[in-house]
Each structure stands twice: as structure tokens, then as C-alpha cells.
């Protein structure tokens, strides 16, 4: 794969704000009582849909460090048919997919919104929605710049 222009060094101030948004999102998720592994699942699923190799790798590694199982990570791409995910995780994954596929559907359907807000509290729902938004931004930067895998992954 050919090398491309990197976006972090090109606009360091923008990158700082995006990184700060990520930290604020993670704090909001923890404050809302969400398991950090749920947020990692959301990040990985969005990154799978958007094809961001770097993001899939880094967040799979982070999830494993948080105690996530190998099985739940490799079943994630087909999570609907797998019995391994909680009701909360399923609601978060449905929301993550709808928000990530916006350019295919131009909406987040009422069914998705209702399911997510039924199972997640308002602070939890909002934290997940921000998690999806922020990882979609990292995915766009990562894919467009062909961000290489970290050295440890070679």
C-alpha cells in the first residue's frame, strides 16, 4: 500500500481537539456506568464497517487488554447471530451500525433509537452516540491517510 499524507501532523490543533473529545467521551461513558469493553466493541464494529485496519487493530488490542475474550472479538463481525453479547451491547451495536451507515440510509431509524434508549440510560445512550461519532472521525482520517499498523503489529 502506498504511503499517503498524514493528518495529525498536518493540523496538530485539530488532532488535539479530536483526542480531547475521545477522552471526554470515555470519561462520560465511565461516569454513566458503561463497561469500557462495550465502548471498545462499538469502536471496533464501526472500524470494521469503515474498513479502518489501523483502528480495528488498535482497539482489538485495547479490548484484549481490558479483558475482552478472543471469541467475542472474532464473532463481532457477525454479532447479531451470536449469543455472546448482552442486551446493552446489542443496543449499542445497533446504534453504532446505523450511525456509521448514514450515507447508505440518510437516517437513524426510529426502531434503532427506541431500542437504544430503552436499554441504555440517557447518559449511556449519549456516550455511545459520541463514541460512534468520534471513532467515525478517526476511521475517516485513518483510511484516507493509509495509516500504517503500529510497529508491534508487524
Amino acid at each position: 500500500m502506498t504511503e499517503r499524507i498524514r493528518f495529525g501532523p498536518a493540523l496538530p490543533e485539530a488532532y488535539r481537539h479530536l483526542a480531547a473529545a475521545q477522552r471526554a467521551m470515555e470519561k462520560a461513558a465511565a461516569d454513566a456506568g458503561l463497561d469500557p469493553r462495550l465502548i471498545e466493541l462499538v469502536k471496533i464494529r464501526a472500524s470494521q464497517l469503515n474498513g479502518c485496519t489501523y483502528c480495528v487493530y488498535v482497539h482489538s488490542r485495547d479490548a484484549r487488554e481490558l479483558g475482552e475474550s478472543e471469541r467475542r472479538l472474532y464473532l463481532l463481525a457477525a454479532w447479531r447471530e451470536a449469543p455472546d453479547y448482552t442486551e446493552q451491547e446489542r443496543a449499542a451495536l445497533v446504534l453504532a451500525e446505523a450511525m456509521t451507515k448514514l450515507s447508505q440510509t440518510q437516517e437513524v431509524p426510529d426502531g434503532v433509537y427506541q431500542e437504544a434508549t430503552k436499554v441504555l440510560t440517557e447518559p449511556q445512550y449519549v456516550a455511545v452516540a459520541w463514541a460512534v461519532t468520534v471513532i467515525n472521525a478517526f476511521n475517516r482520517l485513518g483510511v484516507t491517510s493509509h495509516t500504517p499498523l503500529p510497529a508491534e503489529a508487524e
Binding site: A28, N50, S103, N136, V143
Partner: protein, 153 residues
């Protein structure tokens, strides 16, 4: 249309970062010598693809305020066949579409990248890609929140 939780308003800390992110990109637009009209075209095309009426309304009004023509605004959704857009604008719109349609393609193709980096400087290309990324963020927040379009005055 039923109302929904406003994702931005519930977490002001995050909203602040998103707005600051957007402000740093806006500052960079002028620094890189990019035409603000080109940026508005890109933001409007991204909002069309993602179906964000609130964002479309805001940025069409901003484009018109900056001198954009009515004709180019309505031809934007079919820009490939329209003679109205410059080489730079076409490269920027192709990049915007590729980056926005990522969940359909999992890729920003080499020809899109090559054309964009041919007609833009490296700095302009980076600013443009950031602007597309940020607009995609606002689209996600506003579509999911069903942010209402303000009443026409």
C-alpha cells in the same frame, strides 16, 4: 417527526471539543489559501449524502451569504454532469464523497487521492480532509438527534 435526545447538549464538554475542532479547521482554511465557497460546497455535499437537513440548511445559507449562486447549489447533488464546477471543486467533491461513503467502500481509492493531491497542495488537501471528517461528525450528531431545521423567516 418525533423529537429525540440532543446528543450535543447533553455532554457540553464534548460539544465544546467538537466546536473547537471545527474552529481550528476553519482557521486552517484561510491559512492554506482555500476558497471558503469550495469548503461550503464540500460541507453541503457531505450533508446531502448523510441526509442532514439541519446541516444542509445552515451551510446552504452560509454559501449563499458568501456569494454562491442558486444554480450551483441545486446542481450540487448532480455535480459530475454539470459544467459549473472547477477542477479543484470536482477533486474536492470526489474526495468528500469517497470519505463519506466509507461504510459502502471501505476505501478512499488511489485515483481520488491522486487527483486531490495533484490539484491541491499538501496543506490544502489535509485541511479539506479534516473539514470532511468534521462535517461527517456534525451530520452524525444532528441526524441521530433529529435536530430541527429552523423555520424559514
Amino acid at each position: 417527526m418525533s423529537t429525540r435526545i440532543g446528543i450535543g447538549a447533553v455532554l457540553p464538554d464534548l460539544q465544546k471539543q467538537q466546536v473547537a475542532l471545527s474552529a481550528s479547521a476553519r482557521k486552517a482554511v484561510a491559512g492554506a489559501g482555500l476558497d471558503p465557497l469550495l469548503l461550503e460546497l464540500v460541507k453541503n455535499r457531505v450533508s446531502q449524502l448523510n441526509g442532514c437537513a439541519f446541516c444542509l440548511d445552515m451551510h446552504v445559507r452560509e454559501a449563499r451569504r458568501l456569494g454562491e449562486t442558486e444554480r450551483r447549489v441545486y446542481l450540487l447533488s448532480a455535480w459530475r454532469e454539470a459544467p459549473d464546477f472547477s477542477e479543484q471543486e470536482r477533486a474536492a467533491l470526489a474526495l468528500a464523497e469517497a470519505m463519506t461513503n466509507l461504510s459502502q467502500t471501505q476505501d478512499v481509492p488511489d485515483d481520488v487521492y491522486d487527483e486531490a493531491t495533484r490539484v491541491f497542495t499538501e496543506e490544502q488537501f489535509a485541511v479539506l480532509a479534516w473539514a470532511i471528517t468534521i462535517m461527517n461528525g456534525f451530520n452524525r450528531l444532528n441526524v441521530t438527534s433529529r435536530t430541527p431545521v429552523p423555520d424559514p423567516k
